[in-house]
Amino acid sequence: MRLPVHSSLLALALTASAVAMPGAASATDIQMWVRASGATAAQFMIDLWNASHDDKVVATVIPDNQMVTKLATGSQAGDVPDMVSFDLIYMPDFMKAGFLKDITDEMKKDPNYAGVAQAYKDIATYDGKIYGAGFTPDVSVLLWNKDLFKAAGLDPDKAPATLQEIHEDAKKITALGNDTYGYYFSGSCPGCNIFVTSPMMVAAGSKLLPTKAGDDALTGDGVKDVLTEMKAMWDEKLIPDSAQADTGANFFATFETGKIGIQGTGGFAISALKHDKPDMNFGIGFIPGTKAGEASAFVGGDVIAIPAASKHADLALQFIHWELTDEAQLEGLAKNSIIPSRPALADNKYFKDEPRVVTTAQALGKGFTPYALHFNDMVNSDSSPWIQMLQTAIFDGDVDGAIKTAQDAMKAIAAQ
């Protein structure tokens, strides 16, 4: 094909002008790694950004259990994305390793950052420097089946206010028979239990993980009180046998059968149940402690950070500033029934018709995120002292021995 002379000249002139003006705006792809379980929420935000910005965010979804390895090896090889959204619990390890960019000055100047949930600010700070911000939050809450509560003669609109109340309610629900059980938890899933069981201990006054070498682990009576109560529920067969072997595969699916009265879960349960089981009546409340008025939550979800070797750190920073704005928090998260990382925005037009989401958002303000190096070793690994303690105490019955062994093991890990 031959181009007319004037077309060729025009093309040449345009090319020359593009070369001559290096500062001219040209769209850039901002590469982002997102862990799989936060991908849906992240995509809402990315779509919203892409709709109004020339520089597009391109997400690559990484399986949850590969994110740490991939980011660690990528960081050491210098092959990293421009920004990354990952499980907040790994922030301390990555900050200490020097894998992330220090964004202290930029965040301190951002008025929206001041309103981010404290748990996110704490977990993304190391040695007084800020390395990330909350991105797609999730928080643990108590879930109960209102139909089973009604059938058992309980008040379906009242959440159990203490662990002892959970125990009493569970007895009545299990008494309904027909393979119905009062309570459920995934007994072989360390991550599930730090999410839903540890808040009971924290609400009851315990401190769980050592932050630095020399710190004690699992302090306070809350740990023993919770384990003793859960052991009693197990012994009384208020929890199905299969809970002992559940590595997390049935963390939520068992409740969806409609035969579980109460369990801890995440805020995601609201949209999941509305979608999967539209006819199920369920309630959402705070995870209680051992005394009335005590409540806590594990603040989970993903943080967003910029790898130290990011090629477009300035654009990534723009995205982080943007995701903290009212527009992004409300139109990207709240509109899709996801709680904002700024608790003050919990009272918004999208949550008006769904008070259960408001409860979840309020739980964010009551919640905590354990700040610990070696979190995997202490908690998340299949052989961690945390899961060994739960199993030995609840299923084998040795509460005191289990706590002592776990305390020693966690202290030894923290000393590494």
Binding site: S188, Q244, A245, S381, Q388, Q391
Partner: protein
């Protein structure tokens, strides 16, 4: 062509293969050995610590030896199961009529499924609430109620063995079928003329003439079992109480979950040495016992 030139030419022909082995086997293995003498973390760093990792393996890591013991138990149980069942299926389907060819195809089909996929499939089949396998056992009155397989280490081991047997038994069967079919017709017919019954033919003709294949499949199966990981990772998560960790699973835990890359490398070297010694013994016995 003098000897030196011939050697050079031979070396040139071998060069691509040698280069491949050097880059993709020897270099990484050397790197692994080096890392095993450091305190390298997955998060970076790594100082030379001498033999400290190896000392820790032999004096301060009982879980590794528990895992190795469990791996040996798994290997010792599953290898004869795979051999025996695979050989029996091969005897049943070795003839080349259409029905038996179809049967071979059906039995072989799970081999082409990924081990992770099949493990996940069986994890759900064994589920106490929705598992079809459990339901079948109850309906057939083999079990009184739905079994919770993964709360007991022995039950969990058998659950994994059942799933892996389903997945890989077809592989051994196909190799055994090939070995049986390669036996000369004359030999089989001569034994029949001499009045040998079916079981006599199996024990005196088929078994000795397929011994090399049996030993090869045993070696492959035993090494595969010693390296077991995915099936346990997916089905048991190492539980209950860490009783179903295999050696490789423990190496994975150490290197990638606990971030102890140096220590994980040392564990890998020890496991490699154990498997190499076991395989060498097996190959030595094979060369002595197999017909020439």
């Amino acid at each position: 062509m003098n000897l030196g030139r011939r050697n050079l030419l031979g070396l040139a022909y071998m060069a691509p293969a040698l280069l491949f082995v050097a880059v993709f086997v020897l270099y990484p293995f050397g790197q692994l050995i080096y890392t095993s003498f450091t305190d390298a973390s997955l998060l970076g760093g790594g100082k030379w610590v001498g033999a400290a990792n190896y000392v820790r393996i032999f004096t301060g890591d009982p879980q590794f030896w528990k895992a190795l013991w469990f791996t040996l138990k798994y290997t010792v149980i599953i290898t004869p199961v795979l051999m025996g069942l695979g050989y029996a299926l091969a005897l049943l389907t070795a003839q080349n009529d259409r029905v038996l060819q179809f049967a071979r195809g059906v039995i072989f089909m799970p081999v082409v499924i990924g081990l992770g996929t099949s493990s996940l499939l069986w994890f759900w089949l064994f589920d106490q609430q929705v598992g079809l396998f459990d339901k079948a056992l109850v309906d057939l009155h083999i079990a009184n109620s739905m079994i919770v397989w993964f709360t007991n280490a022995d039950w969990a081991l058998w659950a994994v063995i059942i799933s892996v047997t389903w997945k890989v038994v077809g592989f051994g069967m196909i190799l055994f079928v090939a070995a049986i079919q390669s036996i000369s017709r004359e030999v089989v017919e001569a034994s029949q003329i001499d009045g040998a019954g079916y079981w006599q033919r199996v024990s005196m003709i088929y078994a000795p003439l397929t011994l090399r294949t049996v030993l090869l499949v045993t070696l492959i199966s035993a090494i595969g079992s010693m390296l077991a990981f995915e099936q346990l990772y997916i089905m048991t998560g190492g539980g209950p109480r860490g009783l179903t960790f295999t050696s490789v699973y423990w190496i994975y835990q150490s290197a990638f979950i606990k971030f102890q890359l140096g220590y994980g490398s040392a564990l890998a070297i020890v496991l490699t040495a154990i498997i190499t010694i076991a395989a060498a013994i097996q190959i030595f016995l094979t060369s002595r016992s197999a017909p020439q």
